[in-house]
């Protein structure tokens, strides 16, 4: 395990070294997973949490201390595998993609930093450790988004991402403090134990504004998670974050960092399930994000932005799956499904991004209208992209099918409204993914002729770019067959996943309808899509503009915050704080002007002062001192 942490201290001088080390890490984490799931971890039917390393780093009181440690339980082991594996693929891919970049080594250093902090995040057993790595992840994401720092849009995007997530992290921090205060511990397991036992009920029922402390704490923690996971309404940073290099988008903004929020909720799930209010918030925020993002994704034209919105939508899925989940046994289906979806999503979404990376590398543009008919030039990308699209659309037997089925089943069992929206969203997902697919790889248009010259020069790129695509495609296709319930469940007891073919008819039907619709509209060059978008006029425009959420934010920050808070603050700063300081300085200067004559530079006058002083003291001591 220490191999994972050694990476931080290693200044990556070249991609090969970074990739090699990560390969070692991946093998180690796979080995850990194997050991955990098949050898050590299981006692009876229950998986144990193993605290591998625990070391008290800062202790505040007897109970509250910050421990640095490594905790292994099913979800952290799963995340270990996902993070190292996807990271490895991205490292390999970047060898080809980033070749010739000036700051190649820096890039790998950032990637390494990110991987390190993500791993630290998933294995930490203490809320505060989570928070620290959480921030580290945020920083490395900021660095990587702003990698092309000479591009103003990239700089703006990285700033936006940082500020928005920071804002959410504030909620997270306050949430941690509330939980730690009412649960009297920072250690996650102790916290869960304390808060669920009866003697702490007083703390739990303590209320603020009519809402219990536990609800506040959990909701605030969820806001932190929502910020990282780009849930509505804190999602605005994610699409802009696509300014970063494409492999980075694949790693951070698709597979790993953005699911940190889901992971966090899953980590604290034993707490969440006590609190119906917080869970409801999780459900509806997740659902709303999933749906809105899917609608927006249907109208965007930048391929990376489409993928970004699709990521957001899928994460919304995971969130509401957690939200509708119960604890233990059959009711824990949502939890398992969410983690399962996280697992499969990591594969197919990073595959999609890497595929998009190949396309962008080839065509030097993010805009969909510059593409078309690329299937002849990029056969590998074509096939792997198709696999990923089928996976995300939930078509059997690809990975996304299984995880999405479980999510929908969980939703169906708990709330029919959620189920309906989710079902419709899955249809939309299929539609926009295949809109993307057909627009890139089929739909012949003039663009390709302009690029035929380019096509001769380089094809799909080197082996290092193709290999990850193929590996990930294999994973996307096959990961669904892992009997996931056997490994990950809410109460760590094995959950028999059962598969209901009747139930899966509806989602698959929706998926197929979406695909067919996309095929009809985009497979060949036609004006059908334009007509449709015109007939939907206002809605289309609103979705294209991302429902004006960016504009609302801009309005709030520019008009309200700047005017109502920024201006007065600036005025106070300029007139009162500065005035005070200037006053002090002026007084000092005036007084010193009066007394500086004393310092004449004449030795003898000093001697006279000295002597006079002694005489004065002598008089004081002899006559006045009684």
């Amino acid at each position: 395990m220490l191999g994972l942490f050694g990476r931080k201290y290693f200044k990556t001088s070249s991609g090969i070294i970074g990739t090699g080390l990560l390969l070692v890490s991946t093998i180690l984490s796979l080995y850990t997973a194997y050991n955990y799931f098949f050898v050590d971890g299981k006692i009876g039917d229950t998986y144990q949490s193993i605290t591998a390393i625990k070391y008290t780093w800062l202790s505040f009181s007897e109970n509250a201390s910050i421990d640095m440690g490594i905790i292994l339980d099913p979800i952290s082991v799963m995340m270990l595998v996902v993070v190292t594996f996807v990271s490895l693929m991205v490292h390999i891919f970047s060898l080809g993609y980033m070749k010739g970049e000036e700051r190649f080594a820096t890039y790998y250093a950032f990637l390494g930093l990110f991987t390190f902090s993500m791993l630290g995040l998933v294995v930490s057993g203490n809320l505060f450790q989570v928070y620290m790595f959480w921030e580290l992840v945020g920083v490395s994401s900021y660095l990587l988004i702003g990698y092309y720092y000479d591009k103003p849009s990239a700089v703006a995007a990285s700033k936006k991402a940082f500020i928005v997530t920071r804002f959410a992290d504030l909620g997270f921090l306050i949430g941690i403090l509330i939980l730690a205060f009412s649960g009297n511990s920072l250690d996650i397991e102790t916290l869960i134990h304390n808060l669920s036992s009866l003697e702490f009920n007083g703390a739990v029922t303590m209320s603020f504004l009519g809402i219990s402390a536990l609800t506040w704490g959990l909701t605030l923690v969820f806001i932190g998670g929502a910020g990282k996971s780009a849930m509505f309404p804190l999602h605005i940073w994610l699409p802009d974050a696509m300014e970063g290099p494409t492999p980075v988008s694949a790693l951070i903004h698709a597979a790993t960092m953005v699911v940190a929020g889901v992971y966090l909720v899953a980590r604290l799930f034993p707490l969440f399930h006590f609190n119906q209010a917080a869970l409801t918030i999780v459900t509806f925020i997740g659902l709303l994000s999933a749906f809105l993002a899917a609608v927006i994704a249907c109208t965007q034209t930048d391929i990376k932005r489409i993928l970004a919105y699709s990521t957001m939508s899928q994460i919304g899925y995971m969130m509401f799956a957690l939200g509708v989940s119960g604890y233990g046994g059959e009711f824990g289906l949502g939890y398992t499904a969410s983690m399962f979806h996280l697992f499969t999503h990591a594969f197919f979404k990073s595959l999609l991004f890497l595929g998009a990376g190949v396309v962008i590398h080839f065509i030097h543009s993010n805009e969909m209208k510059d593409m078309g008919g690329l299937r002849r030039y990029l056969p590998v990308a074509n096939w792997t992209f198709l696999v990923a699209c089928l996976a995300i659309a939930g078509i059997p037997p690809f990975a996304g099918f299984f995880s999405k089925e479980e999510i929908l089943l969980a939703a169906y069992n708990s709330n029919k409204l959620v189920y309906g929206v989710a079902l419709f969203t899955s249809g939309l997902t299929a539609f926009y993914m295949f809109r993307l697919y057909f627009s890139i790889f089929w739909n012949k248009n003039a663009a390709i002729h302009n690029h035929s010259a380019t096509a001769d020069r380089h094809g799909e790129g080197p082996l290092s770019m193709k290999m990850p695509l193929i590996i990930l495609a294999a994973c996307s296709a096959l990961a669904g067959f892992i009997p996931f319930g056997n490994y990950v469940s809410s109460d760590k007891v094995i959950l028999e996943s059962h598969f209901d073919p009747i139930f899966s008819i509806a989602p698959v039907a929706f998926g197929v309808i979406g695909i067919l619709l996309a095929m009809w509209m985009y497979k060949n060059e036609s004006s059908r899509a334009d007509k449709l978008s015109q007939s939907w006029g206002g809605l289309y425009k609103a979705a294209y503009k991302k429902f004006y959420i960016d504009e609302i934010y801009l309005f709030i920050t520019k008009k309200i915050i700047f005017n109502l808070i920024g201006r007065p603050a600036a005025w106070i700063d300029r007139n009162m704080v500065d005035g005070l300081m200037n006053g002090i300085a002026n007084t000092t200067a005036t007084v010193s002007g009066f007394i500086k004559g004393i310092q004449s530079g004449k030795v003898q006058s000093y001697a006279i002062y000295f002597f006079g002083g002694i005489i004065a003291l002598a008089i004081v001591f002899l006559y006045l001192w009684k």
Binding site: K596, G597, Q599, S600, G601, K602, V603, Q604, A607, I608, F611
Partner: protein
Amino acid sequence: MGEVPISHILFVSTALFFIGMYGLFTRRNMITMLMSIELILNSVNINFVVFNKYLYPDKLDGIFFTIFIITIAAAEAAVAIAIIINLYRSHRSIDVETAEEMKY
């Protein structure tokens, strides 16, 4: 010739002290100022010896103190003269009024 009364000797030492003080304040020549300081020191020495002799005739503490002061006065004179020489080198004068750069 009888014993000299203590008040006479103390009068001499006080006179010596104020002569030294006067010289220190009025003279502009640094050598003269140095000499004035020596006068002040010696007046103190006289005080030490006299008080020792008249108050504690069987002890030697005051005399030892005087010897210490003489030794240190020698060292102090050496330092002062070194300062004066340096001042002369930089200002071509040993008048203290010329050395008044160290002011506001």
